[in-house]
């Protein structure tokens, strides 16, 4: 180091961005001498993934900590200003209808806990991945996900004051039957090794399927007067760009490191496409049935965000590495005219035990569904909804009197039909250690048979009710254990939410 007189006023040389960023992140790391690498990173070899050079990791988003804080603080200032304004002006009164909020109940119960889970497990990657560059990227994502979870809690806090179903989202995520679908998905990812988590969440969830899972809720918010949720969505999207980039870099990095990684990663892509796709059935039902002002149909979203952008855009890129489109993707394509209807029917059947309400689509809504699904709606689904309308015209409301069989893997009640045949129920069985297990589809069966010792551990809500672990033998016992309060569940028409809405819009002549 020179000790000759350094100059007084100099224009300080600026290091190139890439080098400066590297000095501020990966260069902080060092090769340990007093402990072994294996002691420091004990979880990185058991999955069979091989990494020769962690330095090969590319950081396209070069965000240093000071820049992170500056940009994020600015974003939050803007977002909370919107939340405060909306609350102060009783903005919820300008929603399209109180029934819209059922979508947001599903969101805070089903999605917010996943943001939190991602926060916790990206922290795991920030500890357990060997490369300093992906570790830092994971740390940033962990902090981002905490932001998402908490801004969602705050965004929805105002709705919680005036409407049912929001009040016990965290407890319900742990206990309520339909929420074991997202809970088990993330538990599956978190209990897997670090590389599988990286591919399952960073790639499959945050890149492959993110638009399909996220955009419908945010667009739905925009179309239905839900300014806070829409603002949250915009605000979170720029974080999501970083996450998408991490996911894409993760998969390319691992594929480039060693050929042995290719089949392992292909297997994870195959598994996680299907696992996340099955969970997106809830989103499909929400989009087609729960929005008073619909944005687009599930079919249209699937074609745009998955078939066009992913199969048409991303997978040709990945072909270079020997990766093929996910196994069972053709089943998903074959189902796109059926998925939302079959799923909403399940929710409609069982919402007496849910923390949201459902309702039979009226004629106007059915006309839209007919238009969106010309090949299936009128033939297979309208007749059933018409039956419900008849029952309701007579003052009744049909709920399913019993408990459904759940798929051992995705944990959705088995209401799906064969991909190419809407009239035939889809059911698969497998045997493991002399016990029979049930799955809903080729995809879930394939997932089960790959790792049966994992899936037999599942805490299946219906089994647990029958085993007496859910508060007691009657429906009221179970609902109390779930934390469901009066007004949360059942049929929308005549519900507390609808009554409040009518009371708060005295000049409105909206039909029930």
């Amino acid at each position: 180091m020179s000790i000759d007189k350094p100059e007084a006023r100099v224009r300080p040389k600026k290091l190139p961005l890439k080098q400066r960023y590297s000095l501020l992140t990966r260069d902080l790391d060092w090769e340990p001498n007093y402990v072994t690498r294996e002691q420091l990173y004990p979880h990185t070899s058991y999955e069979g993934i091989v990494v020769h050079d962690w330095d090969g990791w590319e950081d396209p988003f070069r965000l240093t900590v000071d820049a992170y804080h500056k940009y994020q603080a600015e974003k939050d200032k803007r977002l909370y200003a919107v939340l405060d304004g909306f609350a102060q002006s009783q903005g919820h009164l300008t929603l399209s209808d109180a029934s819209y909020l059922n979508a947001i109940k599903l969101f805070i119960q089903g999605v917010t806990p996943l943001e939190y889970a991602a926060h916790r497990h990206f922290a795991y990657l920030a500890r357990h991945l060997e490369g300093p560059a992906p570790r830092f990227a994971a740390l940033c994502q962990s902090v981002d996900e905490l932001r998402h979870a908490q801004t969602q809690i705050h965004t929805i806090s105002n709705y919680n004051k005036y409407y049912g179903g929001f009040h016990s989202w965290s407890k319900m995520h742990d206990r309520v039957w339909y929420l074991s679908v997202p809970k088990s998905l993330f538990d599956d990812a978190m209990t897997a090794g670090p590389f599988e988590f990286l591919i399952s969440i960073s790639f499959s969830f945050e890149y492959l399927l993110t638009n399909l899972l996220f955009v419908p809720f945010m667009s739905g918010a925009s179309f239905n007067g839900d300014m806070p949720t829409m603002s949250f969505g915009f605000s979170a999207q720029s974080d999501e760009s970083r996450h998408m980039t991490l996911g894409l870099e993760a998969i390319k990095f691992l594929l480039e490191q060693d050929e042995a990684n290719v089949p392992i990663i292909q297997g994870w892509i195959d598994k996680w496409f299907w696992r996340a796709y099955r969970m997106s059935a809830l989103v499909a039902a929400m989009m087609d049935y729960m929005l008073p002002k619909p944005v687009m149909s599930w079919r249209e979203a699937f074609e745009l965000y998955f078939e066009e952008q992913m199969l048409g855009g991303l997978f040709p890129d990945l072909e270079f590495y020997g990766i093929t489109p996910p196994k069972h993707v053709n089943d998903a394509i074959a189902e796109k005219d059926k998925l939302s209807h079959e799923t909403y029917k399940i929710l409609h059947n069982f919402s007496f035990a849910a923390a949201f309400t459902t309702q039979t689509p009226q004629q106007e809504h059915m006309a839209w569904l007919s238009e969106q699904y010309p090949d299936t709606f009128d033939r297979f689904y309208r007749p059933t909804w018409e039956k419900h309308l008849d029952i309701e015209a007579g003052g009744g409301r049909a709920f399913f009197q019993g408990l459904p069989q759940l798929c051992q893997v995705c944990q959705i009640p088995m209401g799906f039909s064969e991909p190419d045949d809407p009239a035939t129920p889809s059911l698969r069985t497998s045997t493991f250690r002399d016990e029979v297990f049930h799955t809903c589809s080729n995809g879930c069966q394939w997932i089960f048979e790959r790792e049966p010792e994992k899936y037999v551990q599942a805490w299946l809500p219906v089994h647990q009710i029958y085993q007496g672990n859910c508060g007691g033998p009657t429906v009221p016992d179970v609902l109390a254990w779930y934390g469901i309060q009066e007004g949360d569940n059942g049929e929308y028409k005549g519900s507390l939410d609808q009554q409040s809405w009518a009371e708060w819009h005295p000049t409105s002549t909206k039909e029930a």
Binding site: R9, P12, D76, H154, K161, S184, W459
Partner: protein
């Protein structure tokens, strides 16, 4: 003239989320509480971790230190994401201004030779120590039981990288915009005799399984490093014509004050816990015994080197005062 806006007043059905109401009654609650209490899942996990087959995904057994109710601890700073990033944006902005001032006048490179040597061979190499401390803190972010504790660990982990990056930027400034000083500092960290006990210590802390023990071990180290290098040395720098160092050190000292708030509060809560207080106190004593002396042994050589390079620094004497 005063006027009162007329607006629609609706009776809320409840003032907060049910879990907050259960603890504090049906009244408006802070954003901190709504975003922190009971957020972590508690039960009905679906699968066992393949990387820890004798644990659940969230498990009090990841540490010997336990709380009857994880939420008997809350962060005295009330940090959820927004106030955290807002506070740190302000902190980094001020640091940036200090550093910018020094860079424009090339003041760090023009420090007296002894002080430049202290920066190059003691202060700047600590960017690696901060990086190690981050690894330890982030384990708490994942494995601590309950959102209120893990959240503090999350922010601490991000802070450590922030500190490491601040030290790195100091190093670049000392090198008049080049990476020279960082390169030398890393070599020192890896090879220089005076830094090996410290490096050895942080490497051993990094592999401690109990996340809380790791965090506390780092804290015992911090309780020597920070007062010595960023407060005592700050004083000495001012008195010996090296005010530029003080301009930098103040930011680290003020971070340390902030860090103490949650860590001290947590230790108090651990000790006062109805079911686990006695056991926790015993563990805290054991941890102090194990790690405090090692911290002293690791920091002593740094003080010796500082006094050799800047005799008026009084580092060894200052360290004595911290025993």
């Amino acid at each position: 003239m005063q006027y009162e806006l007329r607006y629609q007043v609706l009776e809320p059905k409840r003032q907060s989320y049910q879990n907050v109401i259960d603890r504090f009654g049906d009244q408006p609650a802070s954003r901190y509480l709504e975003a922190t209490l009971d957020v972590e899942p508690r039960e009905n996990f679906h699968y066992r971790p393949t990387w820890a087959q004798d644990r659940e995904l969230y498990d009090a057994r990841f540490s010997a230190l336990r709380l009857t109710d994880p939420y008997s601890f809350t962060d005295p700073r009330q940090y959820y994401y927004t106030p955290y990033v807002t506070s740190r944006a302000a902190m980094h902005d001020e640091f940036g201004k200090s550093l910018g001032y020094l860079e424009d006048r090339n003041l760090l490179a023009r420090l007296p030779e002894g002080w430049r040597a202290v920066l190059g061979s003691v202060i700047v190499p600590l960017r690696h120590l901060e990086s190690g401390a981050q690894l330890v803190s982030v384990a708490g972010a994942r494995f601590a039981h309950g959102t209120s504790i893990e959240q503090c660990c999350t922010y601490a982990a991000f802070d450590r990288i922030g500190n490491a990056q601040m030290l790195s930027r100091v190093g670049i400034a000392v090198g008049t915009g080049t990476d020279e000083v960082l390169v030398t500092a890393k070599r020192e960290w890896l090879d220089a005799a005076h830094l090996q006990p410290l490096r050895r210590l942080i490497e051993e802390i990094m592999i401690v399984e109990d996340w809380a023990e790791g965090v506390l071990a780092v804290d015992h180290l911090d309780k020597l490093v920070y007062p010595l290098l960023y407060t005592a040395l700050d004083e000495a720098a001012l008195l010996s014509g090296a005010g530029s160092y003080s301009l930098i050190a103040q930011h680290f000292a003020s971070w340390f004050t902030n860090q103490r708030r949650w860590l001290d509060a947590l230790q108090t809560v651990w000790q006062a816990d109805p079911e686990n207080g006695a056991a926790n106190t015993a563990h805290l004593d054991r941890i102090a015994t194990t790690w405090r002396d090692r911290a002293l042994e690791a920091v002593e050589p740094l003080a010796v080197v500082i006094d050799k390079q800047v005799p008026e620094a009084g580092a060894v004497a200052a360290l004595e005062g911290l025993r």
